[in-house]
């Protein structure tokens, strides 16, 4: 095979944005057999919960599936959340998810959903602490797929 590299280690002077390696898992189940959880970076949490720190926050809040959506709100410093605070389903469609169960499109909504505040905060902690902590609960809950909302 022809050697395509002319000068080893040569780097372009043009700044090329790099994307991370793809991650991918094959979908194995049919949709109508799935338990689906929702995870949002939009800063959604229950009104009774501690608000996110607008200056940056990598923590997350659990949102039980039976939470009335009137009990949810947004704390997020990075976008106009007026619409979401009028109707949380704009960003966190918990009521619509229950309707997908009633329609028979999916089998069940997960027992627990998650809100955190994306777009800021400690990115390393988000990756190494928050992500794995959410994953552990999702796994224990038997979740088959996750729908996310974010920027």
């Amino acid at each position: 095979m022809t050697e395509m590299t002319i000068v080893k280690g040569l780097q372009s002077e043009i700044n090329v944005p790099l994307s991370p390696e793809p991650v991918w898992v094959q979908v194995e189940k049919d949709l109508q057999d799935m338990t689906v959880a929702m995870v949002t970076a939009a800063g959604v949490h229950r009104k009774q919960d501690k608000k996110f720190n607008l200056a940056g926050d990598h923590t997350f809040r659990e949102i039980p599936n039976d939470t009335p959506t009137s009990e949810l709100m947004v704390t997020h410093g990075g976008y106009d959340n007026a619409d979401a605070n009028k109707d949380i389903n704009c960003m966190f469609p918990l009521d619509r998810l229950q309707e997908m169960v009633e329609e028979g499109l999916i089998n069940a909504a997960a027992n627990t959903h998650f809100g955190f505040m994306g777009g800021g905060g400690d990115q390393v902690k988000l990756k190494e602490e928050t992500g794995p902590a959410i994953v552990e609960i999702l796994k224990n809950d038997g979740v088959d797929a996750v729908v996310l909302t974010a920027g």
Binding site: C90, Q123, G131, V135, G151
Partner: protein, 86 residues
């Protein structure tokens, strides 16, 4: 996208409803859909339940359809402030 990738890496398939698809692509979303919406109302305007249902239903269907990573599928719904619902 960081948390989406963490969940997908752990073996649970994920799909993102994105308002800013170029950002989702840059950060390596595994799967995403993109209605034409402002950040903050990714499923469309408040109290438009029909549109929210359509976005969520199409999102779940795309979970089954998308067959390669970093795929972003445009959805035929839009929410532009001041415009009639469509």
């Amino acid at each position: 996208m960081i948390v989406q990738r963490a969940i997908e890496s752990a073996g649970i398939p994920t799909i993102l409803i994105a308002a800013l698809p170029p950002i989702a692509r840059h950060y390596g979303t595994p799967r995403a859909v993109a209605p034409l919406v402002p950040m903050g109302a990714n499923l469309g305007e408040p109290n438009n339940y029909e549109k929210q249902r359509n976005v969520l239903r199409d999102t779940l269907r795309q979970l089954m359809v998308i067959d390669s990573p970093v795929s972003i599928v445009a959805l035929p719904y839009r929410y532009i402030e001041g415009e009639e619902a469509s």
